[in-house]
Symmetry: C2
Subunit: 217 residues, 2 copies
DNA sequence: AATGAAATTCAATGAACGTTGAAATAAGTT
DNA sequence: AACTTATTTCAACGTTCATTGAATTTCATT
């Protein structure tokens, strides 16, 4: 490990945690460096600017994420006899790596997903930043979905994916709202419960929309 | 209209627009009052504090929204012969008032929904604020869903609603990401296309999850 | 041990922040 | 027209912001 690397990682960890809680504008460099127990000036020394630090936080885990999701997709396609994976498997390959890391990857991953959930729905970052980090992978998944639903109109695939994406992102936002709504009968932190339910729910939606002629039927 | 009411509304309009674009912490009182073309001090004079102004923005349209959504639900329940509305109708009653106002209600409504989408997925506001403004209505809808799916386990209803909610919220966030992904084949601003597809997609998910014994089948 | 670069500390910068009090203006009431 | 109250303007408050330059310390390499 290089000389300043421990400091760099401590700053990234604190930035990740605080950005996840209050967003980019809701956190100051001073709060981050105080949480990391390092001098205020070190954030700018290591990352150049607050905005660069934000990008570094997003990038750090995005690469691993994209890699493992792609591997999972290729795996299930290789296992399918005709090279076309099932809808349920595609949905699982897309969501499982995220939910699994949020559930069992430690607090850093949990913060990371909370941050992604937040910026995903914001006009300031949602379009540009998310596109930059995740679109190549998503395009690959959509290609798989098209093969799994060969009769589908393209628009129905895109809207179905869009619904899927929204459901998934709200899940790992873990705002706890469903806990209140259900009076404690379900817990937003119980991502294993989601893993069980997301593929059948979403796959059924895809089939209803994409296997019939047009959205009305 | 009372004396300062025009100023109040101009401040609310500008605050709504700017908060939607960059979030609570990303906007300053000075930017808001400059956009509204009023003196800086007037925001504090009329609303007391920045935070109170934020709440006032959220509250302004929430009441109308809750009212019309509840009316729609009661309407379809009254029209159903046994008082139990269909899944598709419930989903439509929940989402249509939102999507319709975002599409045809003018730029203020569009900003409002973008703002709601943003804070819905944030830990800072998502749990507490959303609960405060919308939970009573959501509980009413969940009761209707339970009646439409009498065999369902409660947990499956809550998780299905959760997926529904995530899909809906991402829709009216309108970040434009789906536009890029589809190379312009679909447009995130085409909410009529969503109105057509959301009820069948979501209803199929509900049925798959809630009409079978457990999530695995 | 000496050297030199990298990392860290310290103090300070100018700018912008939310908020406020006092003065000025506008409008409704008598 | 005089009075009263609500609204608006103006200037400033103290605080905090991201960032920086210079001084100091740390550490790997000689």
């Amino acid at each position: 490990m290089k000389r300043g690397e421990k400091t760099r990682q401590k700053i990234l960890d604190s930035a990740e945690k605080l950005f996840a809680k209050r967003g980019y504008h809701g956190v100051t460099i001073r709060q981050i460096t105080e949480d990391a127990k390092v001098d205020t000036a070190l954030a700018n020394y290591h990352f150049g600017s607050k905005r660069n630090l934000f990008d570094a936080v997003l990038l750090r885990r995005a690469e691993e994420l994209n890699k493992v999701r792609l591997e999972k997709l290729e795996e299930i396609e290789a296992a399918a006899e005709n090279g076309v994976a099932s809808l349920e498997d595609i949905i699982d390959a897309f969501s499982h790596p995220l939910l699994d890391r949020s559930e069992r990857g430690g607090p850093g991953w949990k913060s990371y997903f909370a941050l992604i959930a937040q910026i995903n729905n914001s006009p300031e970052w949602g379009g540009k930043l998310m596109t930059e980090y995740f679109d190549p992978l998503v395009r690959r998944f959509i290609a798989a979905l098209k093969r799994a639903l060969p009769e589908a109109h393209e628009e129905d695939i895109y809207w179905s994916y869009h619904f899927f994406s929204g459901a998934l992102v709200l899940t790992y936002a873990e705002t706890g709202r469903i806990d209140n709504l259900s009076d404690g009968k379900v817990h937003s932190s119980d991502l294993d419960a989601v893993q069980l339910r997301m593929p059948p729910f979403i796959a059924a939606g895809f089939r209803r929309l994409c296997e019939t002629s047009g959205p009305k039927s």
